[in-house]
């Protein structure tokens, strides 16, 4: 099931940065890479629930601002040797608009 929700224009998300999307139930961090790929993760680090949206993005990973865990943007999982995953959501970009499926 794909409930695509339009959330923003691609330009509204800074390159190598993110925006926080607030839903009724949680915060979702939406990231944009250098080459304009867009990824979405639940805005909670698997370690101590730090807000991943506030981390530094490089390549397709984000570094959590609280304790420097590196999370893969595609899978939502910590990169080795740390272990743990947060939820990853599907995104798409069409005509400069970013859509999110939760």
């Amino acid at each position: 099931m794909n409930n695509w929700i339009e959330i923003a224009a691609l330009e509204d998300i800074p390159r190598l940065g993110s925006r926080v999307v607030k839903t009724d139930t949680m915060n979702v961090a939406v990231f944009r890479t250098r080459d304009d790929q867009v990824f979405a993760l639940k805005d909670e680090c698997p370690h101590k629930q730090g807000p991943l949206s506030q981390g530094i993005v490089s390549g397709t990973t984000v570094t959590c601002p609280l304790h420097n865990w590196k999370i893969d943007l595609d899978s939502g999982c910590a990169t080795g040797p740390d272990e743990g995953c947060t939820n990853a959501f599907r995104t798409k970009v069409e005509n400069g608009k970013v859509y999110l499926s939760i």
């Binding site: 999307v21 607030k22 807000p51 040797p81 939760i102």
Partner: protein, 812 residues
């Protein structure tokens, strides 16, 4: 099609190279490994504990067969390569295999040197090199009684100790008059000999072996003076010879070892070599730490990144005999003109000697108390000027751990449940366990796997000591040249110099010039480069918010629940009723759950939601406040005491001077946080002597102090000089800050920076060299034009709204 890489020699250096290569470029090669021994890669330096019965063979396997499979490596054990066909680019093995290569890596190690005396080929005469030798010794220990070890070096003594532990009567025969003469001086060697004798080991010193006696099997040893002793087992441990036969037969240039250049390449450009078989700049190495440095370089070139260079190693040694602590490094026998610092306590059985040349450590020998070995070794390799703490250096680095822990830092003696890392709650046992089970050799590995020393870093010395005492000489000490981060091979200093010299003005330019491995960099190097560019090109470089840690991007400190704290600037800690009222109004309006007075004499408002920050800053800005930068690697606060306007002891206007200093310096970005203080008299109520720059007013002027720190590691400032006017204070302060801003490494506080470059260097630049001081001060004032723009006001007026405004959606 993938290129083919063949590794000859399945030992520590070769396999380490593969590991490094797989990290850099796992897909480049189809890899085949040949090992003459029947085992997968094991930790050769742990053979002594296996012999002594403290470890099993399984304990010391570093890469099991599953590891080779997982990485798609074809492993041939028990089959030695006998010929390299360089023209046909293939290797041939004893069992008749033929494997072609595009690149060949030689890691053939070394062979024990067997003295060619008559009888050396008898049964029961062996070297001490591999698991087979250990098995032979263990077998012999079951059947026989008497063993002779020829060679009183590191390996010989470890073998003798192991045999003794297995119940044999052991005599060590040594040609020289002191044991371990390549690592020890006479006093330390005598202490060692005495304690080994106390354990039952016997010694024949200055004794030359002339013949191994016996009928088929060794039964005794005869010496040059004609005397003889009984021996059922003879272990020759007189040295190793690089194993160069294969390379030599293939016509590759060899001297004592296979000759390689700084990229670990042999004279045949398709063939690389690492490890004990190698001769680099005339040196061969038999210890493991240098081999790992070589492995890193070889892997870098095999991955065709092509930027790493091996420049030789300084090595240190630790004897792995339980109950005996011994450490040596560098040139431990003094030469003419050297100075020797010695601390000797026969009662405690301890001996420490440092050889010092031009106030720099050249060598160290420690016996009994070796806890500071890693520290001395670091000072040696960094070439640190020790004049500032020379009078206490022999007593060790008492502040290894958190300030005030003193003797608690003697790690070897600590129980397993002793907490080492107070930030992350990691105990000694967990660290030792991770090192042993996961085969860790570097501080970075231990940090990644255990989280110890990965937060505030104050326990780094302790963790390094645990690493050193757990793996002995296998400890891969942080190389003296430390890359800025995992994205590059270049150090902070090289990158700072490159930015200036080649006028690199964007982050992409720096990463391109220095051949960064990741185009975006990482969370460690991005903030560093952003700072270096900002500091070097004020007014030209555009700050990159996405390369700043969130605190600096959001101009507030992120708290554990994701809210922020807000600290308005109160210049010099002074405030008015109106200002306090304005702060109180803001706190009410945004329902701030908690407020507190900070250590730097400011007011902190906690628990602010990120989206409220711009609104709050607008209100504060209208009341005349600017950001307090309590969140930044920046000028934090100027702390002051009452001063002569009120205090009966005050000698100068400390508050007024504090305000002037803060007005001069606020907004400045720094390598790390930077704190000032001004005390009105030597009672020093503002605690100026633990600040980055502190002023202590006296009746005749102002004493200027630098490089203090009241945090992780308390450090009292050094007195820079005394000046007569407030104007001079401002000039010296600005010049000192600018020197620090231009030259320190990112995330290096002034205290370690001053210790690294030397106080005299800083003093010379700021005090003695007036022209330099004035130029630094001018550059500081110039850069301040661009820095003193209040970030809060800018956001309140609409800058970077995307950073603060969430997108709200309601699920359909």
């Amino acid at each position: 099609m993938k290129e083919k890489l063949v590794l000859v020699g399945n030992g520590m250096a070769g396999v380490r190279t593969l590991e490094e290569l797989l990290k850099l470029d796992p897909e480049r090669y189809e890899i085949t490994v040949f090992g003459a021994e029947p085992w997968p890669n094991y930790n050769r330096i742990m053979l002594s504990p296996v012999l002594a019965g403290e470890k099993t063979v399984d304990d010391i396997i570093l890469n099991d067969r599953a590891w080779y499979e997982e990485n798609g490596i074809a492993l041939h054990t028990g089959d030695a390569v006998v010929r390299i066909d360089r023209a046909g680019r293939k290797v041939l093995t004893g069992q008749g295999e033929e494997v072609p290569y595009d690149r060949l890596l030689l890691a053939t190690g070394s062979n024990p040197f067997i003295i060619p005396v008559p009888g050396h080929d008898k049964k029961g005469v062996i070297g001490f090199r591999d698991i087979a030798d250990v098995e032979t010794m263990l077998e012999a220990a079951k059947k026989y009684e008497k063993a002779v070890v020829i060679g009183g070096g590191l390996l010989g003594l470890e073998a003798a100790n192991g045999l003794m532990k297995n119940g044999m009567d052991v005599t060590v025969v040594h040609l020289m008059d002191i044991l371990m003469e390549r690592q020890l001086d006479a006093p330390a060697a005598n202490l060692l000999k005495a304690s080994l004798e106390a354990q039952g080991m016997k010694f024949l010193m200055e004794t030359q072996t002339s013949e191994i006696l016996g009928d088929g099997r060794a039964q005794g040893v005869k010496f040059a003076d004609g005397s003889e002793i009984e021996a059922d087992l003879v272990v020759m441990a007189v040295g190793i010879r690089p194993n160069i036969g294969l390379a030599q037969a293939a016509g590759i240039h060899c001297e004592r070892g296979i000759v390689v250049n700084d990229t670990m390449q042999t004279y045949d450009p398709r063939i690389y070599a690492v490890g004990e078989c190698v001769q680099h700049r005339g040196q061969t190495y038999g210890l493991v730490a240098p081999l790992f440095e070589q492995a890193k370089v070889a892997a870098n070139h095999l991955a065709q990144i092509g930027i790493a260079r091996y420049e030789g190693s300084v090595t240190s040694t630790k004897l792995k005999v339980t109950g005996i602590d011994l450490f040596s490094a560098g040139e431990f026998n003094e030469q003419e003109g050297d100075e020797t610092l010695v601390l000797q306590d026969p009662g405690m059985g301890s001996y420490k000697k440092l050889v010092v040349r031009d106030n720099r450590i050249k060598g160290a020998v420690l016996y009994g108390d070796t806890i500071d070995g890693t520290w001395y070794f670091q000072l040696l390799r960094d070439g640190t000027d020790i004049s500032a703490f020379r009078n206490t250096i022999l007593f060790g680095q008492h502040d290894l751990g958190d300030a005030g822990h003193g003797d608690e830092t003697r790690v070897a003696a600590l129980p397993d449940d002793a907490e080492i890392c107070g930030c992350n709650g990691v105990c000694k046992g967990e660290i030792v366990d991770a090192i042993v089970t996961k085969g860790l050799f570097t501080l970075d590995d231990v940090k990644a796997h255990t989280k110890a020393a990965s937060s505030c870093g104050s326990c780094t010395g302790l963790v390094e000591s645990i690493l050193a005492s757990t793996v002995g000489e296998g400890y891969d000490a942080t190389p003296s040249k430390k890359p800025l981060c995992g994205c590059t091979e270049y150090s902070h200093d090289e990158i700072i110099a490159g930015i200036k010299e080649h006028e690199l003005k964007t982050m992409d330019a720096v990463r391109g010039f220095f051949e960064w491995k990741n185009p975006d960099g990482c969370a460690a190097c991005r903030p560093a480069l952003n700072y270096y560019l900002l500091a070097n090109w004020p007014g030209e470089y555009h700050d990159d918010p996405q390369s700043r840690f969130i605190n600096e991007r959001a101009h507030g400190n992120i708290q554990k629940d994701g809210t922020y704290s807000v600290v308005p600037r109160l210049f010099g800690g002074l405030c008015t009723p109106e200002q306090l009222r304005a702060i109180a109004d803001v706190a009410d309006k945004y329902q701030v759950p908690e407020m507190k007075v900070t250590g730097g004499q400011r007011i902190d408002l906690f628990g602010v939601r990120k989206e409220d920050l711009p609104l709050m800053w607008k209100d504060l800005s209208e009341a005349g406040f600017v950001s307090g930068h309590a969140y930044g690697k920046a000028l934090r606060t100027v702390k002051t005491c009452a001063g002569k306007n009120w205090c009966r002891f005050g000698t100068q206007d400390s508050t007024g001077l504090g305000v002037r200093l803060e007005e001069l310096t606020w907004g400045s970005w720094m390598p790390h946080k930077f704190k000032l203080a001004v005390s009105g008299c030597p009672r020093n109520c503002a605690e100026a002597t633990i600040k980055d720059f502190g002023v202590v007013c006296v009746d005749s002027g102002y004493e200027l102090h630098i490089g203090g720190n009241g945090g992780i590691k308390v450090r009292v400032t050094d007195l820079l000089c005394k000046v007569g006017t407030e104007e001079a204070v401002l000039e010296y302060c600005g010049a000192f800050i600018q020197k620090y801003r231009e030259e320190a490494h990112y995330l290096e506080r002034t205290a370690p920076w001053v210790e690294r470059v030397g106080f005299d260097y800083v003093k010379q630049a700021i005090v003695d060299d007036e022209a330099q001081r004035k130029a630094l001060y001018e550059r500081f004032k110039y850069s301040q034009q661009f820095a003193q723009i209040d970030p809060w006001k800018a956001v309140a007026e609409g800058k970077d709204q995307h950073e603060f405004q969430p997108i709200e959606i309601t699920a359909a």
